[in-house]
Symmetry: C2
Subunit: 314 residues, 2 copies
Amino acid sequence: MVTIGLDMMGGDYAPLEAVKGASIFLNENKDEIILFLIGDEEKINAVLNKYPLKSNKYSIVHAPQVIKMHEHPTKALKEKQQSSIAVGFHLLATGKIDAFISAGNTGAMLVGALFSIKTIEGVLRPTIGAYIPRENGSLGLLVDVGLNSDCKPENLNQFAILGSLFAEHVLNIATPKVGLVNLGEEEGKGNILTQTTYPLLKENKQINFVGNIEGRDILIDKADVMVCEGFTGNVVLKMAESVYDIVKRRNIEDEHFNRFNFETYGGVPILGVNKPVIIGHGISGATAFKNMINIACKMIATDLSAKIKASFVA
Amino acid sequence: MVTIGLDMMGGDYAPLEAVKGASIFLNENKDEIILFLIGDEEKINAVLNKYPLKSNKYSIVHAPQVIKMHEHPTKALKEKQQSSIAVGFHLLATGKIDAFISAGNTGAMLVGALFSIKTIEGVLRPTIGAYIPRENGSLGLLVDVGLNSDCKPENLNQFAILGSLFAEHVLNIATPKVGLVNLGEEEGKGNILTQTTYPLLKENKQINFVGNIEGRDILIDKADVMVCEGFTGNVVLKMAESVYDIVKRRNIEDEHFNRFNFETYGGVPILGVNKPVIIGHGISGATAFKNMINIACKMIATDLSAKIKASFVA
């Protein structure tokens, strides 16, 4: 039996969209999975009265406090120990749940993860990636997208390993191609960081390094895992998101560009911490919540955390 | 009288597209401008026989050698002193021409500019920007886009000044808004570079600093001059170029996305050197060449170089 904790108070449309997402998941799911809906019981029940879950595979865990989107993460977690995020990490750390999902305060999710379940031994810095849709229908992973804005070569080398394992086990890409985001294709090109990272990736036997990729390669499938520091990754991701906004504003209907709606992907795991933790977009809707639960299931089913730990054994 | 030198041997379609571009320019232009077509006289004449220029406002300057696209810049310039690029810079340095344009070897153009006409006193590093089309039909400037992949805060501060002057005098934007490309809007966000650059831009009285801009703001008109180091700028620019490729591949017809065809803009000046030097895309076509000549005219007419020099007086 698998148990997954879902923060019902996180995101702009809480708890309504979280309830709807849980509902879709429970209707579709055939596995032995129980959802713990964490949040203000009264508010959750008010929504459940209108949108009842057609399943007995869930329980409500009361958490009367809420950490709002712009609260200071460390301070909020310390002062609001009965918040849905604090309760969620408590359940995760004690093994009551196998994964924790929230579309709430990103900073609080990060701090909570680092303090409760902690970084995997050997991982210098956990990372967060983003899915990049490609025209062939598959998803690539851009990593890091903002958690680590200043990086050392060894950080990027580790992101490559973390991203590869995620791409292989959760995105189902066999021996994912790893590319280093750079300003030229040839070895030796780049800024100081990428020039010194290249040899590390080239010698890294744990990954399938395909060399440098340029900005023009990010939206195609030249590499499955695209490695960069979080500054460039963040700018690139937000620009890709804005392409979707422009496409919609201009009434362009296109199957591929529709997949630039990054809200639908649901969220990304914090890679490099000891247990599955998934952070969603603040504007997550029902589909996003459902997808996040599915990603958590996949991470649990493939025991991704154990595979990452095995990769970082000294 | 203004004289502009055009490298006829640079670019993938040389000298045909350069001749066509010169032809369009000469047909449209009413000012007292003379073009110097620099390159292999025989090859230029072969094209002129098929596409004669309907004007007597041009002269051919014979330069028998060609620096190819992938030659080592410094070595090639030294060994091929009769190349169109070397001859062009010689004419520019000696005052025979007022501006020099090439779609040839970018590295050779840079090295040639730095060695012949030199950097403006006070400018730590010249920079190259790129035009970014916005939905309102105007163009923004992203600067730097690859010339300087590792930067110090003072470099970005200077790019802001150089970009502002170009936007004001050549793009006709009064008091252009300058934004710092960053991963969050609030002051204090960012990597070490942007955190330390922010206060410099804020205190810089020569520019109209509007604060941080995010990846989602690059394709809109939140800022007219978007400042970043050349690594991020290069990745962002090439990704924007690839959006155009995807749009074309998917048979989407849209006026705005058609403007993502970066080839049409023709080229960008090296900002911070003593005279107007414009570098074009290798795949420049006739329109691109014509536009480059027009940009050169504008830089000469507004005496942009003098305005930049005045801004950098100690």
